[in-house]
């Protein structure tokens, strides 16, 4: 019989492997982000700095656009704050899995939370009922390093690629969200109808909200309202 106790090392490696399917999507978006930041006049070093310190694709796209437009730093920081506020929800949704982990370790886990790694982590959590800190570390670090690398490569090659949209690379991000969404449905088969209904309702909320309240609030508010609808449905379903 082969007993394999999970060691820190094996967990980190498993986390790294779990990240691999998202690596391609990340590479595409990171590459695109690098190209756009370069086009906005940022140097490779500056792109690397932003990728390492902000580590958020949508925010980096906006930063590049606002730098190009000459917006004041205060506006840029405020906009980024609102765009990235949704990480609050992601972090909160992960929190129950990290109850027994120390404050400092949770700080490190949280610092690298992204939409994509969240999707992978939550699927693991629902399936295995637990998320190992070391596994999460492997997942996070892989995504992080991959992102920085993709941005830098995009910045370097950006001048050479005239139109990366031709290759459909920009579709990597929505494709990844769609894939992660489907996996969410599949994690709990008994609730799949409930989840599909909630997702459809969420789309309607999003469309409605973006007419009434265009802009950054859309995603976060939609998610919160959609979740309340889910809560409501689950309560009356019982």
């Amino acid at each position: 019989m082969n007993h394999q106790h999970p060691t820190i090392q094996s967990d980190v490696i498993t986390g790294f492997k779990a990240c691999l399917p998202t690596v391609l999507g990340y590479l595409g978006i990171g590459f695109a982000a690098g190209v756009i930041q370069k086009a906005a006049g940022l140097s490779i070093a500056e792109i690397g700095l932003l990728s390492a310190l902000v580590y958020a694709g949508s925010a980096q796209f906006i930063i590049a656009a606002m730098i190009l437009a000459g917006n004041p730093i205060s506006s840029i920081v405020l906009t980024v704050f609102f765009i990235n506020l949704r990480h609050l929800l992601l972090s909160a949704a992960l929190a129950p899995y990290f109850k027994k982990i120390s404050l400092i370790k949770n700080f490190f886990t949280g610092s690298l939370v992204t939409d994509e790694t969240f999707g992978v982590a939550i699927a693991e959590g629902i399936q295995k009922k637990t998320i190992s800190y070391d596994w999460m570390f492997g997942l996070n670090i892989t995504a992080y390093l991959n992102w920085i690398l993709a941005n830098i490569i995009g910045g370097i090659l950006g001048d050479m690629i005239t139109d990366f949209r031709k290759y459909g690379i920009d579709f990597a991000l929505p494709a990844m969200f769609a894939g992660l969404l489907i996996f969410q449905f599949l994690t709990e088969k008994s609730k799949i109808i409930l989840y599909i209904i909630v997702a459809c309702f969420t789309i309607l909320i999003f469309i409605f909200l973006s007419i009434v309240l265009p802009g950054i609030w859309g995603v976060m508010l939609t998610a919160m309202i959609g979740s309340f609808f889910g809560l409501f449905l689950e309560k009356i379903w019982k």
Binding site: P21, S91, L103, F107, G218, L231, E234, K235
Partner: protein
């Protein structure tokens, strides 16, 4: 290679305002006992966030709501979803999505 002081400021400030929402809940909520309704609410967050993000990519073009504006995206998402359901592979779904998008743009402009 240069790093402008303004960029350093932007990177640090934006990094900070991003770091706080990322770390605070994990540090705080994991220590407090959350009420049951909140746990159920949070359990829907993955789905609603992914749906909202996807909707944002599919229905918003140039910061405006355009239901059919990203028609290629709406088309390409179908095989993406199918591959995800059938093959349960994130990589395969992303690849199919990219390829479909590339084909749509190549043949239809």
């Amino acid at each position: 290679m240069e790093i402008r002081f303004s960029i350093i400021c932007i990177a640090l400030a934006c990094g900070l305002v991003t770091l706080i929402p990322r770390t605070l809940p994990l540090m705080v909520f994991s220590k407090i006992k959350l009420p049951d309704w909140l746990l159920i609410w949070l359990s829907f967050i993955p789905i609603t966030v992914m749906t909202a993000l996807l909707s944002n990519d599919l229905f918003i073009t140039h910061s405006k709501l355009t239901l059919w504006g990203n028609i290629y995206g709406l088309i390409a998402i179908i095989p993406t979803i199918l591959v995800a359901v059938i093959f349960r592979s994130l990589l395969a779904s992303v690849l199919i999505g990219i390829i479909c998008m590339a084909l749509l743009r190549y043949f239809l402009g």
